[in-house]
Point group: C2
Amino acid sequence: MGSARAPRLIDVNELRVACSSCSLRELCLPAGLDSGEMERLDRLVTHRRKLRRGTGLYHAGEPLAGLFAIRSGFMKSCVLHDDGREQVAGFHMAGDLLGLDAIGSGTHTCDTVALEDTEVCEIPFASLEQLSRELPSLQHQLHRIMSREIVRDHGVMLLLGSMSAEERLAAFLLNLSQRFTTRGYSPSAFRLRMTRQEIGSYLGLKLETVSRAFSGFQERGLITVRQKEVRILDAPGLKAVLDSKR
Amino acid sequence: MGSARAPRLIDVNELRVACSSCSLRELCLPAGLDSGEMERLDRLVTHRRKLRRGTGLYHAGEPLAGLFAIRSGFMKSCVLHDDGREQVAGFHMAGDLLGLDAIGSGTHTCDTVALEDTEVCEIPFASLEQLSRELPSLQHQLHRIMSREIVRDHGVMLLLGSMSAEERLAAFLLNLSQRFTTRGYSPSAFRLRMTRQEIGSYLGLKLETVSRAFSGFQERGLITVRQKEVRILDAPGLKAVLDSKR
DNA sequence: GAACGGTGTTGATGTAGATCAAGCCTGGTG
DNA sequence: CACCAGGCTTGATCTACATCAACACCGTTC
């Protein structure tokens, strides 16, 4: 269908969103590459996809198509248990790389869904492996990204295994705040893209508990919440919630 | 101290435990390599270390020395929270690769401790990256291992976030059983290398709860437990515990 | 602008697992 | 061989969170 359009126009458009001119290049796969290297990476990224809010990107069981870098928007990934139970495994924003779970088996092990309109860059994995053999910086960056994902997961395990409801929510808010900051947004005022139910699923809590924890923080003057709009009034206070329990 | 010994002897010894003659080669980093490639990998593995039970291998905060492949024995890794809380992040046995957490930042993010006398092969990471640029099979195997670690962590997150105490313990026992089987041991009778406290830490439970769940399984004829000796009498029954809760 | 469905808040009650406590194995040590 | 410390089990009680329930809010659609 896209082939009906004038090819020239598409080329120009693709050029405009090349890695080298992408504002996320320092967060994403191209971090640490020089301009020549980045150009070679660009050539791998032939597909970009726009996802409407609510649309899935890939599903558990599907063969690995490629990795996906988020250009803009917000996504969640969910792991599924045999019996239908599902849990949010992570929330992903611009610069994050999705699909790493599928490298091991060649098959995706979780579902990913856009929580707002989202644009992703598709990077064919075989080509990426090949190119990263030629570009040590790219190879290393890929390793760094996978390693950081492992460390992040360990943090979530710690949270789920040994923190109270309020501690979990405080950690969650501080983490979001930090990630927004890295991307140039306000650390203290942001809009949650996910529901209470999804936050609860991620934190191992029920939605009512999440709601009560929000209210509790608000009563103590740590934050204000109005539906999905959150403002952090007292970041040190939130951090203190984390250490309070000894 | 080792240099006082006759170098010849050490060389012969090192040869004996080369990757190519290691019984774990299909589980470990050399999986998928041909004999010439394996020989090149062998040359990276200059250090082997024996750890007495209770000894640490590396600690959070230390710079990445290298990756470590377990040749024999049993280890745990623990993530630490700022406030001193600690949680077991995983149990590791022969063929497992340790240290992946440190690639991202260059610094280890967890502690690892031998739970019984253990022998590990040290693989300098920089050399491994270099060699994996020349050997696509090695590169791919490294990626597979990291990806599988991510998938494993997602499984633990699901367990911690949405399973009851008995479900967690059942999943844990079945996982252990499966890993022992892969390594050629009995799937149904094995000796736990960790304490109830460590199992509890890993599963997000207190040791008393772990103990009660063991007793419960025993009363229902699913297993027998006597201290650290476990025998699985009814594997399908244990699997049923996982699905019971809907 | 009325009606509706998805989302969020708040209260009342129930419960799985934590906590506290006591006693029992077991393996290592003098 | 007796002793001891660390590990394990089991019981009684407590509590944080789940569950159930009612209602309020908001954005969408007709």
